[in-house]
Symmetry: C2
Subunit: 189 residues, 2 copies
């Protein structure tokens, strides 16, 4: 991350990353397919932590609550383990570089599939399992973006809870008139 | 699609695709960056159709209903325009080849951003706009998978409506005991 910030992601070579980490290139490639993968070293661990929590959740918990509680715990763990400057630097890279963003999309799609599978193993039927998984991912993403974008960041977990409340409100609205639409008419170009 | 099915996606070359379409390779590359892009020729059109519908939706419609109605209409249009065999063949390619799946994820992420932007233009605030967009995408994906996987396919739009009802039920469940969990205990390995 230091190198990516100093020299730019595109300019940084695997040779430089290996040198900064004090390993040979050969060793680097034993762990990572390329320099992009360095930014996803925690992906499998994140997924495993979330799946483990879903598996051990109280049997009476609803699917969405089970998922959101697992994401909240994972969010709190991430917040404890990582410096916020690191998290923000990584997020800036994801939003700036298409190839990193694509890898992030794959990570989240894999996570959604793992979450849905874990819910089915608890006896949740489809499509509830997939929808609870996708809803959980949406809440995690929105909570994350709000957390890293705040000037004075509060708890990641609190942002996830706020996002799930907002999602519940969005889902509860029926077709009819809604207070969420501003009175001001939309101007067209 | 004929060539991909006859020869396999990996084996098919741009030269062959261009020849089958009766154009030169040079012409092919004026329209598509590579052979994968051929499978995404409708992506921009789909996005535009959905955004247009959101822009012209009744002002009193709730965010989620606005999004779902736009997806339903897009789904019905797709169903009218494309032979189901074509849609299924494309879906089989997406699930089989990682590089196509990645491009599909990018397409859906781009669509989610465009939908959220169109909602904000209607005066929907964040995070409701992003959550309604993500919820809509989830419902579209689940509805699509059910539609193409059915032995005797019904309407795509009906599957989208069923998925949004399921999502509303998932979101409405509070922490407590739920009838969605089967009585049978989950076996652990």
């Amino acid at each position: 991350m230091e190198l990516f910030q100093e020299r730019g992601y595109v300019q940084t070579t695997v040779e430089e990353v290996a040198a900064r980490a004090g390993v040979t290139e050969r060793t680097f490639f034993r762990y990572f397919a390329d320099k992009r993968e360095v930014l996803f070293s925690g992906a499998k661990e994140l997924e495993k932590g979330i799946v483990d929590r879903i598996e051990s959740a109280p049997r009476e918990a609803s699917p969405l609550h089970t998922v959101v509680a697992a994401f909240e715990a994972a969010g709190a763990e991430l917040q404890d383990r990582r410096d916020l400057r690191f998290v923000r630097a990584r997020y800036a890279l994801v939003t700036k570089h298409a190839e990193i963003q694509e890898r992030e999309l794959i990570k989240m799609a894999s996570l959604a599939m793992a979450v849905a599978k874990a819910l089915r193993a608890r006896g949740v039927s489809e499509p509830a399992a997939s929808l609870a998984a996708e809803a959980g991912i949406a809440v995690f993403k929105v909570g994350f973006e709000r957390w890293v974008s705040e000037r004075k960041p509060r708890d990641f977990a609190a942002h996830i809870r706020a996002a799930v409340d907002a999602l519940r409100a969005v889902a509860a609205e029926r077709k009819g008139p809604t207070g969420r639409l501003k009175k001001k008419p939309t101007r067209r170009a």
